[in-house]
Symmetry: D2
Subunit: 396 residues, 4 copies
């Protein structure tokens, strides 16, 4: 399974092509659009989210709502493009020559914390607008749409992907993965995606304080995938490990600076006898055994072990601040303060939805690799015929 995305923040469309989906998957467009809407929500978002109301239009790979096995192409319109045509039209426009640098919204003061400076050096740009339009987190809408389709695929096999926020700024919620799943409706309703109501109230205050000071806040959230069968990923080669794939994909989300599985960094200070998840026989578990804990976060030796996959993610604060950060003007080489582009104060709840999509994408890839995957029916047949023969399944 391969995916490519395209699109600039103020260009006409975001788009993606997802290649390698099995045939016969019913794609509920409303579900995909709800996922896009989940990404747009969350306390602390800026004005852009009032302009955009994202929805996907599929233009390839789907026949009357069902996948054909051929590459899926989806488009998401940027409503704001109407206001940016002079600056960001893909096709050259006659008027462009007349434009001053100001009307072109060129940017010579790279903003710390963004790709502006490093990206300009890489591609040889002077105008960092050329960088920030693609480096913008707006691009993640395309990933969420592609990930939503992967979620539909996973759901056919009983796999579901959730997320909840466990920290914003200095506020932490005391809520476990199990508790989060138990109150997931409340999490979906929470403006900060947090299942601990008093912590959620504090988080909102944290965001408000930051906003009033022209500052921004980051946070920590957790992605949980349930129903994942044992045996996805592999220990046989380092680049086939499921944890490596998931960590890489999650780290690729703008603003993410840390990723951990299960007990994660906490495991580093625990004893081996406390960390590892003991196994005991079970009469009720269809596998014939059960785990007494899940400190591994569902992955041992790079392979899913049948327990929920639990990934915790640290997001840095949004780097676009009203409060000025020092930078240079690349033309004059003088010291200036970074410009302010309309931005969020806190995008942690949105980022948790984006990371759900990335985890879904990696799990879908691994599932298709494990079970073949030319069609949903074939995948199901493969999975069923084999599971009954597994050495550890009770039927044998």
């Amino acid at each position: 399974m391969r995916v490519l995305t395209s699109g600039e923040s103020h260009g006409p469309f975001l788009s993606f092509i997802l290649e390698g989906l099995p045939a016969g998957l019913r794609v509920d467009v409303n579900f995909v659009n709800r996922e896009l809407s989940r990404r747009q929500r969350g306390y602390g978002r800026g004005e852009r989210m009032n302009i955009e109301s994202d929805s996907v239009e599929f233009v390839g790979g789907l026949r009357r709502g069902v996948t054909l096995g051929s590459p899926l192409c989806g488009l998401i319109r940027n409503a704001d493009h109407e206001n940016w045509k002079a600056v960001m039209a893909p096709h050259p426009t006659g008027e462009s020559a007349e434009n001053s640098r100001a009307t072109n919204r060129e940017l010579y003061t790279p903003r710390p914390g963004h790709a502006d400076l490093a990206g300009s050096v890489k591609y040889g740009f002077v105008d960092a607008r050329n960088v920030l339009e693609r480096a913008s987190a707006r691009e993640t809408a395309a990933r969420v749409a592609a990930g939503a389709v992967c979620k539909l695929l996973l759901a056919e096999f009983g796999i579901r992907v959730y997320s909840h926020v466990i920290g914003i700024g200095k506020v932490s919620a005391g809520i476990s993965s199990e508790q989060a799943l138990a109150c997931y409706d409340a999490i979906e309703e929470s403006p900060v995606r947090c299942g601990d109501p008093s912590a959620a109230a504090e988080m909102i205050k944290e965001i408000e304080t930051a906003r009033s000071e022209g500052d921004s806040v980051g946070g920590v959230f957790e992605i949980i995938a349930t129903g994942v069968p044992a045996g996805l990923g592999s220990y046989v080669h380092f680049d086939r490990r499921l944890d490596a794939a998931v960590a890489g994909s999650v780290m690729s989300v703008p603003g993410v600076k840390g990723v951990e599985f299960g007990a994660g960094f906490r495991a580093a200070s625990m004893r081996g006898s406390e960390v590892h998840d003991e196994i005991e026989p079970s009469d009720t578990d269809p596998r014939g055994y059960r785990r007494l804990s899940n400190n591994a976060g569902g992955i041992e030796g790079g392979v899913s072990n049948g327990e929920p996959i639990v990934v915790r993610v640290a997001m840095k604060p949004i780097p676009t601040l009203r409060k000025p950060l020092r930078t240079i003007d690349v033309l004059t080489r003088t010291s200036v303060v970074a410009g302010y582009e309309r931005s969020d104060v806190c995008a942690v709840p949105a980022a948790s939805v984006v990371c759900e999509a990335m985890v879904a994408l990696e799990l879908a890839k691994a599932l298709v690799e494990k079970y073949g995957g030319d069609s949903i029916d074939e995948m199901k047949a493969h999975m069923q015929c084999w599971q009954v023969r597994l050495p550890f399944s009770r039927e044998v």
Copy 2:
């Protein structure tokens, strides 16, 4: 650049093929062997490290010590294979039929924390020996050898990769990245790779206590890459981000459960105005500017920004314990305690050396992609002719 590794823990050889190296790189075999030796050291290692004294033999891709541009193949002999021939000979032996399960060292009690159970389910094995021989961390010797060659490549361009341990068990060292580089000789001499002598002494005690209790400990270490030019990796597509690549590769090292860049998880509770690394003009820096901090850990928007790359890694305790963990016997479905295979009590210093190799591998890949890379001379010519023309270089 592509790499494949092969080899089981008690098979005859570990091996790797590294494809895509530029021609004309002088490979000092002694350097590679010293890297292998660094991986074998560290307080808390088990007996296996007394048996093995790893060294590489290159059998392809090298002519009198210089790369040809063709794939590099290296072999590392497992001295212990002599004792395991009956069990782990790749070619079938006449005697095998006679062997009992015991003399075959078959394993029916999957050890919690290892790939044993998940791997057996994946590949349909009953005998987890088939899993653990490859899932063993011994495999990382091949990565260290390949990574050592990448370090030699990076060194041609002034890039160096370091590591130091900042926590073992409950002991943390108070030492910054800058301090670590300043006392790197002492770190290389330290049995726990820690630059804070009093913390190092405590770490050794922590390991000794764990050993005496039949337990194990994990820890936290830091990888630092200096001299990395701005512009490696890219923000243009999520799977081209340098942080994604490094995070995935580091997470693929056995025992690693968490990865963070720069301020990492700590950044999640900081304000935007505290986190982002301000820029100011500089008369002394050849780029004409400098950063006032490095909370980004050298990567912004998925692109190296010219500051040192700083990755912090959490390693869980070794899962093989003398202190018994509960598991099942997969044949009888009864509750048993996991068997003990000779093992380390603490492998944190070794893992830090392995992660150096993984970071070196990813940086080498990104460098070759950026500068072409058919030969060292061509890479240097490309880099030099371009850097003088960069918009942000002072010559312009």
Copy 3:
């Protein structure tokens, strides 16, 4: 460089995303549209080409006509989709349930020579419409658009890709690669893309005869790439050979059944002393040497050698015939004749344009790999600074 395409023959759009283009490439949309138009021309096309007048709309990766280094997304509208909405709408429509198999244009009689049968077995379809909509050669319009952008990239480095037809049905043209380049304007004007006027007239007759008999014809054409520098591709690993990449890409064009380089199959019956392209010193060639022939077709040992790359391609006749072919009805298992969908009689001239695009794509990939390629300016700087230092260049 990576490319994904999407789109069904009667769906709303064909689309592609091309990732890995350097920044700073000026993309002339008119050029791309002319390439699309070249694909639609050619004697022997069917009615569909009267319905469609392909043009591309770029929706990502381009700012006012210049590449940003970010993924390029292009859309090509299928005008015919208006007539097929009930059958091929990607999003489900309310009316679909009422539709009979006939109004859905379902196909139970797999057509010999198409993917219908093999594709249905692969994806578990009964209705081969699900196959043929994607397996249709209409998909190649997306490739031609992506390839046109690659041609613009190549043109920056003096590389050009041409094609001409040398056989249709039983008619062969006696025209060499050199002659073809010399009369290329005439080839562009020729309805069969043939530079030999009398052969061209015979070819048209061949097509007319086939049409009148309800039959179809194939042919042979040649792709020529000039200005290709020595050193693209590599002999160091089999999957890095330029001939392997080009052969695979050309063979992926619908209808292509044979590919050869230079003397190709003819070389198999020649002596070594006749085939290999001798080298002699030259005062006029900037390289200081020249070749006395080009039987290798510009590639030796999988590496471009600086001579024109010459690829000859065999295309089978279009498999959709008015003249009936025997097949089965997959529902009734009875013998029937294959249905006729509107089709071309001869698509050889169109296929030659498609293969130009595939060759351009592979050359662009190889060029970017060789010279780095974050921006056009950087690529040019790299190429220039290095070429003067080559051991075989005269300056040394």
Copy 4:
């Protein structure tokens, strides 16, 4: 499935790592060695084949002759390395400094038809020895060993790969694919792998004449794969077509200049009504239908259609000739004749064995992708459970 090979012609070893093999495959080392021996045979080989008697030693991925699912590593010793240690030792030797260019066997006269010149330009070499050691066809021994393992995998699913020679120099054999399979034992015995005894005698004469004149000859051979299930490869994306993959891999074999499937180039001059393989119901075929011909060579629309896959391959004559070819001395820029390195007069029978291996590799990849493929047992279960449910199988 991924494979990397390494090794120079006169280095110590050829090696390969094959990643992605299912577990539980019994690897008969004698079979692999017989395949290596088949590659070494054939009328027209040079002296090197008297020096080498290739055999593989597996050093990873295998436990007592059965695959573990982990990467397979194989080594093939170059006996001739003993005579080349001063020149081609991978590790630097003390004596090297003393060596003159002559004793180092450096080559300044690039041989037409080899990678010598293009490769030297690519990698910046003056001494073409650095090129030719890797560009040598000796490297294909590693491919044959890897391909032999793939053949064993394919055999588990009833798939077999054959080859026979149909032309050498100006001699052509009149033998169809079916006839070749019927007399395959004789082909295996034939010194030119030709099933037509009188043609074989002529071919030997052709080789002898060429040898006596210091010249060389090429030829044409055919690869046939039987038992390939319908549904390997895919039409949904151009780089997933089975014909594209096979054509690319076959074209990557040294000396190959042309590839065609089924009727191939001949199809270009046939009518559609003659070419396409009609289908009719069948009571005896388990699929319920049969084909009346196989002009497609077993692949329609890039997907295997269940008929034998038939690939025809053109090989140019060996470029190393006793009869001198003109070239330049790259140091003096004067005209010289190319040097002669010990070589074959005709390697067509050997190349046909190498191409068998490449076809086997591609089929194994496609099979593993289609059926999952963590273990042989699982692959078989997947295949069986699904085939009974196919829409076109008779049970439904």
